[in-house]
Symmetry: D4
Subunit: 223 residues, 8 copies
Amino acid sequence: GYARIDHDRVRRRGFAEVVYCEGKTPEQSAEILARLAARGESNVLGTRADVETFELVRHMVPDAEYHPVPRAIVVRRGSERQIGSVMVLAAGTSDLRVAEEAALTASVMGSRVERVYDVGVAGLHRLLREIHRIRQARVVIVVAGMEGALMSVVAGLIDKPVIGVPTSVGYGAQLQGLTPMLSMLTSCVPGSSVVNIDNGFGAGYLAHMINELGEGVHGHRED
Amino acid sequence: GYARIDHDRVRRRGFAEVVYCEGKTPEQSAEILARLAARGESNVLGTRADVETFELVRHMVPDAEYHPVPRAIVVRRGSERQIGSVMVLAAGTSDLRVAEEAALTASVMGSRVERVYDVGVAGLHRLLREIHRIRQARVVIVVAGMEGALMSVVAGLIDKPVIGVPTSVGYGAQLQGLTPMLSMLTSCVPGSSVVNIDNGFGAGYLAHMINELGEGVHGHRED
Amino acid sequence: GYARIDHDRVRRRGFAEVVYCEGKTPEQSAEILARLAARGESNVLGTRADVETFELVRHMVPDAEYHPVPRAIVVRRGSERQIGSVMVLAAGTSDLRVAEEAALTASVMGSRVERVYDVGVAGLHRLLREIHRIRQARVVIVVAGMEGALMSVVAGLIDKPVIGVPTSVGYGAQLQGLTPMLSMLTSCVPGSSVVNIDNGFGAGYLAHMINELGEGVHGHRED
Amino acid sequence: GYARIDHDRVRRRGFAEVVYCEGKTPEQSAEILARLAARGESNVLGTRADVETFELVRHMVPDAEYHPVPRAIVVRRGSERQIGSVMVLAAGTSDLRVAEEAALTASVMGSRVERVYDVGVAGLHRLLREIHRIRQARVVIVVAGMEGALMSVVAGLIDKPVIGVPTSVGYGAQLQGLTPMLSMLTSCVPGSSVVNIDNGFGAGYLAHMINELGEGVHGHRED
Amino acid sequence: GYARIDHDRVRRRGFAEVVYCEGKTPEQSAEILARLAARGESNVLGTRADVETFELVRHMVPDAEYHPVPRAIVVRRGSERQIGSVMVLAAGTSDLRVAEEAALTASVMGSRVERVYDVGVAGLHRLLREIHRIRQARVVIVVAGMEGALMSVVAGLIDKPVIGVPTSVGYGAQLQGLTPMLSMLTSCVPGSSVVNIDNGFGAGYLAHMINELGEGVHGHRED
Amino acid sequence: GYARIDHDRVRRRGFAEVVYCEGKTPEQSAEILARLAARGESNVLGTRADVETFELVRHMVPDAEYHPVPRAIVVRRGSERQIGSVMVLAAGTSDLRVAEEAALTASVMGSRVERVYDVGVAGLHRLLREIHRIRQARVVIVVAGMEGALMSVVAGLIDKPVIGVPTSVGYGAQLQGLTPMLSMLTSCVPGSSVVNIDNGFGAGYLAHMINELGEGVHGHRED
Amino acid sequence: GYARIDHDRVRRRGFAEVVYCEGKTPEQSAEILARLAARGESNVLGTRADVETFELVRHMVPDAEYHPVPRAIVVRRGSERQIGSVMVLAAGTSDLRVAEEAALTASVMGSRVERVYDVGVAGLHRLLREIHRIRQARVVIVVAGMEGALMSVVAGLIDKPVIGVPTSVGYGAQLQGLTPMLSMLTSCVPGSSVVNIDNGFGAGYLAHMINELGEGVHGHRED
Amino acid sequence: GYARIDHDRVRRRGFAEVVYCEGKTPEQSAEILARLAARGESNVLGTRADVETFELVRHMVPDAEYHPVPRAIVVRRGSERQIGSVMVLAAGTSDLRVAEEAALTASVMGSRVERVYDVGVAGLHRLLREIHRIRQARVVIVVAGMEGALMSVVAGLIDKPVIGVPTSVGYGAQLQGLTPMLSMLTSCVPGSSVVNIDNGFGAGYLAHMINELGEGVHGHRED
Ligand SMILES: Nc1ncnc2c1ncn2[C@@H]1O[C@H](COP(=O)(O)O)[C@@H](O)[C@H]1O
Ligand SMILES: Nc1ncnc2c1ncn2[C@@H]1O[C@H](COP(=O)(O)O)[C@@H](O)[C@H]1O
Ligand SMILES: Nc1ncnc2c1ncn2[C@@H]1O[C@H](COP(=O)(O)O)[C@@H](O)[C@H]1O
Ligand SMILES: Nc1ncnc2c1ncn2[C@@H]1O[C@H](COP(=O)(O)O)[C@@H](O)[C@H]1O
Ligand SMILES: [Mg+2]
Ligand SMILES: [Mg+2]
Ligand SMILES: [Mg+2]
Ligand SMILES: [Mg+2]
Ligand SMILES: [Mg+2]
Ligand SMILES: [Mg+2]
Ligand SMILES: [Mg+2]
Ligand SMILES: [Mg+2]
């Protein structure tokens, strides 16, 4: 009764419903994940999952994996081909949880992912040293807390779509991430857009969609 | 003294600096636009421009165009080829100003643009009737004021990147666009991202970049 | 000394004072509930009650019931007749706590309640499949977290009063429910109104009052 | 191109699309209103309309009426029967604009409307003197600015659904109506719900729907 | 080193510095309280104190008292005369903590205090029944959470200064007390003013000062 | 129809209803003021009135006065006795409008008013020089914009009730007065309370009530 | 009566009171400026002054100057020596008003001022090209609207105190400057601090004080 | 992989990267601190560190110190010379944590630090008694919670740069420090600027930079 899985989603959008485990009981999350895995139409992903939920899933789906940094559950049921690539940047070490959620999501969906971490604007040369490599990617995710200035700086230096992910890292006027979120939204550099605070999942998902376009995968799955 | 034009931008990002005319004197805006037009490296765009600014520009650049709905100035100096396409949806008639800014920007940068307007969720069948056509585009811009629910509904029905543009259309709890902005950022549907309130320009710019990727234009212009 | 029960309320409003147990000591809540049960003029309801409070109540009122999902205490002292009906929709599994508080309240007051859960706009066909059944109800409660877009979509499809209940399900820009609350208040679809975040109780109460009107129960109890 | 009238709305929801004239050009508003009037399936309503818009409408639809206090345009094309009733309360004289928008909307849709104005809680006896009359109505709209306390007081005294309409009347901490809006949403009295700030239209619309239910009009128009 | 007691305060303002124990270590709070008690110039009050702090104080000052509801420590060192009176109203049982802090403060400073609790506007007759008694007081404190409407209603019925104390009782749009705070500040009834959320102490302190004025105590202590 | 004057107010609260002219038409305001003046039971006050409203009043009530700084209309119909006193402090010259509204209100109600203006904390010695005189008053109103620090400083130096009036003077982070309002509410000095931003009227009204208490005027008018 | 000039300020703080002309009548501003000029103890500055105010001042003080970009009035009465230097950076042309207010203030107080304008992070090379020159200054003011990222980038590249001035340039999520203000306050780069939105004056004033310290001017004027 | 230490920072900015331990695992923080200590180019500082992190560091760096009040880790690797001085003021005992973070930071960087604590404006004479001593410092840090009025008062009395540090000490309308932050930003006294809420570190860092300027240390380290 409580869950009405959108089994049509793989056909319509190319990837199974992703389960947001926060606010569900471990039993609810596990059951939904197991049912999605059983269909086996695409890789299966559960985000914001604790270890207790994972243990329940593993009982039902022995090959399920747990990724502790992004707190995610993955069941591999799709092709292993990886296209791309998607670049994930993180401003500081404290932003890793979110960056890894983005990287895992894009990867599970089929993108090749590269990472450049701890390149906040406090020491700009660290970023500039990697800029050539960053420019090779098809789409760039910038994960940053504090004031989120990294996103504007990156967007100004490259000519690919940039997805900003503000994080809740910081305190006081950082307002649990509202400040970098507002900051990224009012960036003086065009070519970027923003997802919700700490929403690594959403950024990885969108990055993969853009990456697919660049590969010449032109969908219209529904039709 | 007051302006330091980023003439390197065409090489670095593929399109000349776009002039945000609000908060500049008409003289300042006009001079910058004329100097960019004189270089002739790409089309030139000035946004949020009033007629007075346009008159000054026209004196210096006779073939400049004024687009009254989005209040934009255009000088054609680039190729006329159009790739694509970019789809622009608008929820209501009052959102047209912003929708047209997005459409013009993408078009001036080189995208073929399609429009589907007044398809707010109050009469869902209007949207569903067009959904097949919407799915043909490479990237979809959704312009919506009030509560901005249209973006989630569209993103749930297609498998292409969606760019949400919240508008300030509404009153009271709409908070001059903050409500649809927050709403779009917390959408329960992945595959979308958000630009600033009323920022048709930013949406059109990003949409064109994604559209280019889909065309196989793989940049790395700088290198 | 601490509580001044409004014993006139059944006569004036048709239902006994409902006890909001949060912020009261278990002893205070239990005593008030027991005194209301002792009068036996109508069913008795305590919301946001923990198990400790319930144990105290059960000592004094052996036939008291505890409903763990909505965390509510009920003592049946009224008629068993149920009129109706009230429809409760929930966007996601995480919204169940609130949806069940709404459903229980309406039911305890005398409404027949129907439920359609997990019909968020990410997979619209799930909602459309049930729309005929939803239209049969006299009044519809829509419980939704994230951006709350479900309420507008439902209101646009039916011709009955819709009560929106924003929930605190989500994170970041969801602002503990402020975002769907603002969103529902600025809905582009008329025919709806909104209660406080997570206030399933208030929605159920109002829905029952409207349902009663539809039954031809025309009150003026006071006079 | 700019407007896609939802002509299905009368069948689906019992009343034609209401035109929100703010943010549209007078020409756009007038044309839409004229087209709706031409179909003649129900009364036609345009809200937030200025006199210039009305003059354009009158050219095309000679029997159009203008209501200056709520700034609304009405074209009568429906039945003249009035059911009900809907009671509209206003806390102060400055709230009249909004109260009259609510009253007009309910009336144009087919409800008999009664008014009790200037009964703010500063002089409670004014309200108490009218309470018997207020209790006769099927549904009560409470329009109040400042802190909006009137809604709670009224809801506590009657047993009918109450619709709160916060207004932007006040200054400073009144926050253009956010304060009474939040206040009404957190009312300690159940049986009420809230619409957007200054949204007399939405309150009147919903009140009529509830009033209809009380009349035994049980819709399911779509089916 | 950490504390610089303002020993001049009794002479300047008629009452010793009151110790806000939150955010201090128990040792710091206890030492300051003991030093104030040792001077013995007036009663001594510590607010927001936990039992651990009290135990430390009792070691040094055996006749110290602990008041668990308002979580306050009192050492009696002043006159026992009580003038007055100060009336404390509370809207609901959950507001008692704050109401008792107000009552204790005024009493410890030398006011006779009366209490009327659980008279929220949901059952107005409960308040009206006590209104005669309320009018006898010199100054009235109104403690209310949720939307705080009680303050306006009381102020409209009496002709004495009213001090509003918004509380954090409620959830969602109540915003931890910001809503009743804003509400009380924008009250449509003059003759009232507001202190910080949950600040029973500040209300009791001010009430006593006003009460003293009414007694003909005309200070100018400093001079 | 639009106004229901609370003629009972003089008996109940000692002063006629004060008319808030903002948001009323000049005709509405003028008529209400004239009717109050005609009863002649107390002085009559209209706040936030423009000259146009005053001209209409003067036609009907030739002895009406206009006070341009606070934009208020006064009709003298009460006793001329003045008790007191009430002290009005203003931090800066830009706060005068509000300070004069407070001073006029208290004076029209029967208080003797003293003024000390332009004593902001930037030059503390200006305040200290007047502190002896300030201590003579029964109650002190502090009008301050910017950050509103003056209120805390004054309250710390005297032993009389202090009423803080935050003003909207300032820009940016001053948030149209929200900053000094919040600041005054969280003052580290007890003995003060706060009214709405720019609400000189409310401060003057309350100050007079407190002043009256100090005079031994003990009301209970209603009984 | 309305103004109490702090003539002690030159002795205490080294510079005469600066007049904030907004919210004062032109007559009030002009008179205060003229009186300060008459004392002739230091240069005199009036900020946010319109031309009307200036014309009044010029009548009384013929050598007064008007600076239209920052809208400031200056009367030279101090030494002409200039120490330094203070560097003023501006992100965009629209920030000039504020940048020039900062530059003028520091200069009028006695600092040599250098300017580097239009070096926003969208074209980082423009900034990097000037970084050597920027490093020569003793203190750097960064004026930036939109998201204000320039301040962090600059602070990371130099080893001098940085003063951030957020401006209200931008729209939507820029929140009239709150976004860059919050952004600068949560900068991931230490060595900076922030003044109010658009407060060029405050930045210039503080910069001069720091510059003076670097010159070996060690004040203690008061003593 | 996770950390990219900015080893260039000592050369560029004169002090090693300071490690913000919140949001990092103890292992991550400890490793970074140990690597910085190993280079031995300057003192090393870790802020917001818990004891567990310190224990890990001590294993690797036996002479590391832990400062429990500001929760900081220090490793001495720089010169012991102290210039200055920097004055740290705290309004109340509850602000000590933040004040000590500021004092420690400035001291570890090479400043001589003086402290004057518990001098809030409630008892102004405590501050005035120390004002002569405060004036001797080169730069003054003011740490204050509640409404933060102390900063304005101090800035008005001295002629040195003032750095305001709002703290989260307080409740309700204090908004976890937003109120004193906004308050300090809108101070009516020039010569001050503000850092983030509770950011003692940032204030100490900046104070040291200014102190160095006053010593004649003129950097341009990079060049
Ligand atoms: N970490 C996440 N953040 C935001 N949305 C998510 C996340 N994980 C899953 N979702 C989406 O949230 C929705 C939750 O749906 P459900 O699991 O049915 O409650 C799905 O449509 C997912 O696409
Ligand atoms: N005054 C009003 N306030 C809020 N919504 C309105 C108002 N007037 C009309 N509407 C609704 O707003 C929507 C506007 O649609 P449109 O006229 O197509 O832009 C319609 O669905 C109307 O139901
Ligand atoms: N300047 C003012 N600010 C706030 N309230 C006011 C002001 N002037 C009058 N009022 C109050 O506002 C209420 C307005 O009532 P009315 O004039 O009936 O709309 C009255 O109760 C007055 O006491
Ligand atoms: N307590 C603190 N508050 C604010 N920023 C800090 C604090 N401690 C260190 N930082 C800065 O925060 C940044 C964090 O960098 P990282 O340690 O690489 O994540 C560094 O540039 C530090 O200068
Ligand atoms: Mg689901
Ligand atoms: Mg530029
Ligand atoms: Mg009760
Ligand atoms: Mg339409
Ligand atoms: Mg103290
Ligand atoms: Mg009235
Ligand atoms: Mg002055
Ligand atoms: Mg680092």
